[in-house]
């Protein structure tokens, strides 16, 4: 969620630190920060905090707790009243589980106009488009306190004894033209708000308003809606419609029903300030009221989980900074959880709150005490390790190939790109293909023969199995890895490589050279001479033939040339070889 430092500041008496400092505070005590651009922070609110932190108010509270600076006033801790009730809007809810609460206000006599500068700027700063004063007010309140809202044009709803809205599931075949000018085909799993006086869908609940009842310049009377919806239903509808909105993002994470009343009253007030008119009355259908709850944790448990020795004062201080009301009796903390903190349900949740506010940097590392039992030996891993040793000793190198194949018994249903959806039944196909590719690089690799193996999983005969497969010039084969019991693992060596060197992707050229050298000449001496003269594209030199005759030795070498920058030409290889011949002659060796 994008938040603006300026917006946050309205929650505090004194200026906030610069954006990067706020970012650091959040990073180490609350959330990861995607980016900081000027005064705008993009905060990665975790799914457990979608209840309260997809809002400037929620993040202002976090900053207040972390930096230990009090906030001026919390808009959702004030008393709230949805009085007087109005009979000009009648709300009925088919299933109170899917719509735990529906609140709203009838606002009459507004003048729709462009928003004032401060509002435009606030919205645009966090990436929202300004539309008009009514719609902007609803978006502003959502971004401020986290309650999504929607405004209907009362003039476009059918009025009998006032308007009537019915909350129900959609019927097959029902359609709605959304405010985004796209037509949506609705399914019976989706919640809609229906104009009960006509029986037509007016909006897709919690996701998108309908174009025909939307606000425009002609609007005079507004019905403002702030409701609460079942998260799973909204999530599924949003997925089916492929339509994610700021509203659906919040509802699918589940927000408190209590918040709706604040949404309605705060937005109604803002609308009348911006657009004139009067909130003549409110509605509040609350079939499934949220009950208050408490969570208990002891100071002992906090320290036992974190591995700390915090005092009851330290813990009390963390709760105070977070504005979590609590009672403490002899180290037992009973927290009366604020209604919007739906994430706080078990003692561990409170322990996390203490841990992150105190700061995880205050936790001192402690190594585990010695384990009282002897580790078990995994028979498959043990067998795999023995197999690796055996095959590597025979010159086989270990490869990993993909488990995805063009054929098989089982397949994945949703592969990105759709290629190779099957799970392999054999290692052989992958190994053969790898062998062929590697064989082209045999000279570069300095191998007489390419030999590879893989220990990998296949799905065959309805079972998941681990096989060991090999491939070399004689062909490819595989067998099941047979378990190997043992008292302990052998301590096999691990790779001693320090740094990997990227290899060249360009083709290489091989040239041979044979020569007579005096008896007793070491091949390394010759290799050095060749290497020093062959230039920087000489990748590799290998002795491939040697015999002695008349106190002289004949050496024959492969010289591999390859550039990191381009494909080498024959001429370039020839030129390098000329330098090699010259250097060899200079040593008094006789090129054959």
């Amino acid at each position: 969620m994008k938040i603006s430092r300026e917006w946050l500041e309205k929650y505090f008496d004194s200026p906030l630190p610069e954006a990067q400092k706020i970012a650091d505070a959040l990073t180490f005590h609350a959330f990861e920060i995607e980016s900081v651009e000027g005064d705008i922070l993009d905060v990665k609110v975790t799914p457990n905090r979608g209840h309260d932190c997809l809002s400037h108010r929620g993040l202002a509270k976090e900053i207040s707790a972390i930096l230990d600076i009090p906030i001026k006033s919390d808009p959702i801790r004030q008393s709230v009243s949805l009085e007087p009730k109005t009979d000009q809007a009648k709300i009925t809810i088919a299933d109170g589980k899917l719509c735990p609460r529906f609140t709203g206000a009838v606002i009459k006599g507004v003048k729709v106009a462009p928003s004032p500068e401060w509002l435009k700027k606030s919205l645009e700063a966090v990436g929202q488009k300004s539309i008009n004063n009514i719609v902007d007010a609803t978006n502003f309140v959502m971004l401020d306190i986290g309650q999504p809202l929607h405004a209907f044009d009362i003039g476009k709803l059918k009025q009998e004894k006032g308007i009537a809205l019915h909350i129900r599931l959609a019927k097959s075949g029902e359609k709605l033209m959304g405010l985004d000018d796209k037509e949506y085909e609705l399914k019976p799993s989706m919640l809609v708000i229906d104009d009960a006086n006509t029986g037509t869908v007016a909006s897709i609940a919690g996701i998108k308003g309908g174009k025909p009842t939307g606000i425009d310049e002609t609007t005079i009377d507004v019905f403002l809606e702030a409701a609460n919806w079942d998260g799973v239903t909204i999530r599924k509808a949003s997925q089916t419609l492929k339509l994610r909105t700021d509203a659906s993002d919040r509802f699918q994470q589940v927000i408190s029903s209590e918040l709706a009343a604040y949404g309605t009253t705060i937005a109604a007030k803002l609308i009348t300030e911006l657009a004139g008119g009067e909130a003549v009355g409110y509605v509040d259908e609350y079939p499934s009221p949220q009950s208050p709850w408490t969570v208990e944790v002891t100071a002992g448990k906090v320290n036992k989980v974190l591995g700390t020795s915090l005092s009851t004062d330290d813990i009390a201080n963390a709760f105070t900074r977070l504005a979590l009301p609590f009672e403490e009796i002899k180290g037992v903390f009973t927290v009366s959880v604020p209604f919007e903190r739906l994430d706080l349900t078990i003692p561990e949740d409170l322990i996390e709150e203490v841990g992150r506010i105190v700061g995880y940097d205050k936790i001192t590392s402690v190594e585990l005490s010695p384990f009282p039992k002897k580790p078990e030996i995994n028979v498959d891993f043990n067998a795999a390790e023995k197999m690796r040793k055996e095959l590597m000793a025979k010159g086989y190198s270990e490869v990993y190939t993909s488990v995805f194949a063009e054929k098989g018994e089982r397949a994945v249903a949703n592969k990105v790109g759709g290629e190779k959806p099957y799970l392999r039944t054999t290692l052989v196909d992958g190994l053969k293909e790898a062998l062929e590719r590697n064989s082209r690089n045999k000279d570069l690799l300095g191998l007489k023969e390419v030999k590879i193996f893989e220990i990998g999983t296949v799905w065959k005969g309805g079972k998941e199995k681990i096989l060991v497969g090999t491939a070399d010039s004689k062909g490819a084969s595989e067998k099941e890895l047979s378990a190997s019991a043992s008292d302990s693992y052998d301590q096999y060596p691990t790779s001693t490589l320090e740094r990997y060197e990227p290899f060249s992707k360009y083709p290489f050229i091989v040239r041979d050279i044979a020569m007579w050298v005096p008896a007793g000449t070491h091949p390394d001496e010759v290799i050095k001479t060749i290497f020093d003269s062959a230039g920087k594209t000489c990748r590799f030199i290998e002795l491939f033939d040697k015999f002695e005759k008349d106190r002289k030795i004949s050496f024959a070498f492969h010289i591999v040339f390859q550039s990191y920058e381009k494909t080498l030409t024959d001429e370039e290889a020839n030129a390098a070889m000329e330098k090699v011949y010259a250097a060899v002659k200079k040593e008094g060796w006789e090129v054959r």
Binding site: H29, T46, P47, N48, V232, R235, K236, Q252, K304, V305, L306, T308, I346, E348, D349, E352, R356, Y360, D361, S365, V366, E367, L368, P370, F371, P372, P375, F381, M392, A393, G395, Y396, S397, E398, V399, Y400, T401, V403, F404, R410, A411, V412, A413, V416, P421, A434, R437, N438, G446, L447, F453, E464, Y489, Q491, S495, L497, Y500, F531, K536, L543
Partner: protein
């Protein structure tokens, strides 16, 4: 002349180990010394073990945190998105065999994410899960254990570890673990930089309960670290796709 310009001597007759196999071997040695047992589980996993038992309910936004491969015509089955299902499988098995905690296990193995691949993303990659459960296992132990692992893995380098708050449904509290290596003999890319290494935390009581372990008596930590990522950092590998390339120009350097 840089090292890459040096002609390499002919390879010996010995074959080469895959870098991930080498890392798993090394991790097993390091964790073995701390009393951890090597455990494994199936790659084609039920949604119960991959999600539900780990406190990730169906239709919960937390399931969006991972892009999952589902199995065609086998509803309820996925290619595991992490090695964490083995936490529950292992504990369940122990309880059934009459072995109460303490437990210490590592689970190195292949995991899957349904993503487009590029230099830093692969659909198939390797994770190492760690789990320690007992009566008195703490978040401080998690820090100590990860520090020791990274210190030994980076050959006694001066490794610092820090936690940042995070969220994974199967731990509470949940943290993101960063690492920083300081000192002289450290590759430039790693030196004095904080690098995100893994997700970790204290095992959520629901996970213990789902595995049949009494959460009022036992607690523990868990972590999951990407082995490919460690390999990339440790050896300066520039492309994660090399891991499954079966290219000996890559493998034979190890």
């Amino acid at each position: 002349m840089s090292k890459k310009d040096e002609a390499r001597l002919p390879a010996g007759r010995q074959g080469h180990i895959h870098p991930i196999s080498s890392l798993i071997r090394e991790a097993n040695q390091i964790f073995g010394r701390m009393g951890f047992t090597f455990a494994q589980g199936p790659l084609l996993e039920s949604e119960w073990y991959n999600f539900d038992a780990l406190n990730v309910p169906k239709d919960h936004p937390a399931r969006d945190m991972q892009d999952t491969f589902f199995i065609k015509d086998e509803p309820g089955y996925v290619l595991r998105t992490h090695t964490s299902p083995v936490q529950v499988r292992y504990m369940e098995e122990q309880i059934k065999s009459g072995n109460p905690p303490p437990y210490r296990v590592i689970v190195p193995g292949k995991v899957f994410r349904n993503e487009a691949t590029d230099m830093t993303h692969e659909a198939e990659f390797y994770q190492l899960e760690g789990l320690a459960v007992g009566e008195d296992i703490t978040l401080a132990n998690l820090k100590g254990t990860i520090e020791r692992f990274l210190r030994e893995l980076f050959k006694g380098a001066n490794v610092e570890v820090r936690f940042r708050p995070s969220f994974f449904p199967f731990v509470e509290p949940g943290v993101e673990v960063d690492m920083r290596i300081v000192g002289d003999n450290v590759p430039e890319k790693l030196k004095d930089r904080w690098i995100e290494m893994m997700g970790a935390g204290m095992v959520h009581p629901s996970v213990l309960k789902n595995a049949g372990v009494d959460p009022s008596k036992y607690q523990g930590f868990a972590f999951g670290v990407g082995l490919d990522r460690i390999a990339l950092l440790r050896w300066g590998i520039d492309d994660i796709r090399l891991m499954h390339s079966a290219d000996l120009r890559f493998i034979n350097q190890f």
